[in-house]
Amino acid sequence: MARKVAIVGIGQTEHKTRHPECSHAELINEAARRALEDAQLTIKDIDAVLNGNMDLFEGHNLLDTITVDGSGAYLKPGRKMNTGGTTGGTMVTSAWYHVASGIYDVVLTIASEKQEESGGNTTSAIITCADPLAYRPFSTGAVGALAMVAARYMHDTGCGEEPGAIARVKAADNALKNPYAHLKLHLTLEDVLESRMLIYPLRLLHMCPQSSGACALVLASEEKAKKITKKPVWFKDHVISHQECFKRPLSPDPTPSMISQTDAARKLYQRNGVTQPRRDIDVFEMYEPAAWAEIAWMEDFLLCERGEAWKLVERGVTALDGEFPINPSGGVVSTNSIGATAMVRVAEAALQIRGDAGAHQVTRKEPKTAVATAFGGCNWTIMTLLSKNLD
């Protein structure tokens, strides 16, 4: 019978444009040490080490083998996963499988990106994800795809430019309270609305930064978790849902909605008795690579009706002190160390459940359930449901 699994240790580095003071192995080491320290364990207590990133963003193959000195995997089992933007989420689900299988009791899982090592040209790497024959010649990477999301949303709802700016300012305000966040900007709505246009209607301040940083979690079986910590955060469920690359551009339906996100949400809510997501979930950490994506994807994740999200954002529902806080951490528009990003969502959701998020702890209620999402690839989704209670 599969075992219950909990997060017992959380660590991340400060996320910055560059980490010139350390190598990739040292960056990983910092996150791993912080996670072990949080769990009050040493590397001797760890049965397996998992280590993931996106290879093309640094130009390193087999990063797990290069960084053994930093990850602590020496003479231990482990593996490297890579699923694109969802990598950090996959590093969590894979550690979960490792522990739940009964083969390992305590697992350290690490996700990182040190993007400055590719010269910071992330878009060049992202473009290679498109099929080389059909789409690569006219791929514009993430900015173009997210501009389509924003344009379509504005067109369908007639909401104007304001909601995107409100979402961005909310993220900036939250990031200022998060010691690990990358962009710490004191923003006004005017700052966002006047920032440089990248691809209409996406402006510079709408878009996530290129960050470097690492995140690490320690996962343990029920028996071990109860001994290790007084505040284990339990995994309840996760759903992985992908959408093949060819579907979207060739589809007769022009709506750039994420059917994989809606599919994942529907399955997750159904399996776990979530009937009113905004009531049943206390904190939502969403992988939103642009401020407009947070708004459009609230609807894809079935958090509200179609055409309603921008109104909720304008009402402040998603703010730190709102009824349904989204990304109290400041989110991906503030911090995006890509390989680590989806794990940071899980880590931040877990900190909220523990009540350990410090200045960016949500204020309306003590969270008991949280959802973290991962986005990547063409349209790839992972949703992870965490809980304060075991049952």
Partner: protein, 384 residues
């Protein structure tokens, strides 16, 4: 392991130096379609089909970030799970095993694929070593392997003849394998007269460039028996990392392989590998590695890999044949190599290995590698 997980179907392409006329997706489709046809399993969501897909590939080799996307369209990633292990196929099969044991899925598809012919592999290997201290030396896996071969031969007195005998044996075995890339009738002289690539490694000592793919389906015990009378059970797994910097380890020993083997043997309850294992399929990219890995796997003592070969224990008619398929020296893409080892072991245990069948094989060992000089080893024990 409290529960049993079985391999219920396997498929592999013929390995070729360059598969012209197909792209990666088409190559993957060939093997995925075959295992689906063998089992009748589809990518359904109602619990009657394949629940999850695990892919094994590496972005830099495939020239595409998130190279799992090569498999997405053909391996059922439409509103279903797909996760990519960026490592050897043995590791990917172990991952699928854990997905099932974790209770999340009942039936999992694994596919490993690579077209080495479309990529400058030495460049990718160069990008797989430490960027600060090693890369400016121009180190790649082959030149590092030459250092390892030299150190191993020096420390334990392994001879060039013993390494060449591995090549001759592999090609002889591969003659019986219809999937093998290019098996040749070789003599020791042929090996010695092949050009030196990186001394002491000659062209025939090294694995050739290869294209190919494998697919396997794993299932939980109660479901496995619905699809085949003869599931092959996974009895034990082990994985282990060594340090990265070559100077930090004695290249003539393989501590991480001993670690991986120990885990797998303990889980499978194996005490005397040579006696209890009927056939071994191991990943060797260079001829010396079969001897060195034999030591790490505990088939013989340290430094006795050459003697084990000379005694004939590992030949087709020996007590424990190694690589009846011919192995990677005849041609398997790395990463796919481990999956090919599992496929071959499954065929042996089901008695479906044709002319390369080892009689009455009941327990098999498979082995995979990742990284420079076998930095990471994966071991799996299979049985019926």
């Amino acid at each position: 392991m409290d529960e049993k997980v079985g391999i219920i179907a396997v498929a592999q392409t013929k390995y070729e130096e360059c598969k012209e006329g197909v792209d990666l997706s088409e190559m993957i489709y060939e093997v995925v379609k075959e295992v689906q046809e063998k089992t009748g399993l589809k990518f359904t969501e109602d619990g009657t089909g394949i629940d999850s897909t695990v892919t094994c590939s590496q972005d830099l080799w495939d020239g595409r970030t998130i190279s799992g996307e090569w498999a997405a369209d053909v391996a059922g990633a439409h509103l279903r799970p797909e996760e990519k292990v960026a490592g050897d196929g043995v590791s990917g099969v172990a991952y699928a095993l854990m997905q099932i044991l974790s209770g999340h899925y009942d039936i999992v598809l694994v596919t490993a694929y690579r077209r080495e012919s479309i990529t400058n592999g030495r460049l990718v290997e160069w990008m797989s070593v430490d960027p600060i201290f090693h890369r400016m030396l121009g180190l790649d896996f082959r030149s590092a392997a030459a250092l390892q071969a030299r150190r191993y031969m020096y420390k334990y007195g392994i001879t060039p003849e013993q390494c060449a005998k591995v090549v001759v044996k592999s090609h002889k075995n591969a003659k019986n394998n219809p999937y093998a890339q290019a098996p040749k009738d070789l003599s020791l002289e042929d090996v010695f007269s092949s050009p030196i690539l990186s001394s002491p490694i000659r062209a025939l000592d090294a694995k050739p460039v290869s294209d190919g793919a494998c697919a396997l389906i794993l299932a939980r015990e109660e479901k496995a028996k619905k699809f085949t009378d003869k599931p092959v059970w996974i009895k034990g797994i082990g994985d282990c990392y060594d340090v990265h910097f070559l100077g930090d380890r004695d290249l003539a020993d393989c501590d991480s392989l001993m670690g991986a083997a120990k885990q797998a043997y303990r889980m499978a309850g194996i005490e005397n590998p040579v006696k209890e294992i009927d056939v071994a399929e191991i990943s060797e990219e260079y001829s010396y590695q079969e001897l060195l890995w034999s030591e790490g796997l505990g088939f013989c003592g340290r430094g006795e890999g050459g003697k084990l070969l000379d005694q004939g224990i590992t030949k087709m008619t020996g007590e424990m044949p190694i690589n009846p398929s011919g192995g990677s020296l005849v041609g398997n893409p790395s990463t796919v190599a481990g999956a090919a080892r599992v496929v071959e072991a499954v065929l042996q245990l089901k008695g479906e290995a044709g002319a390369r069948q080892v009689p009455n094989a009941k327990t098999a060992l498979v082995h995979g590698i990742d990284g420079v000089c076998g930095q990471v080893h994966h071991v799996m024990i299979l049985g019926i």
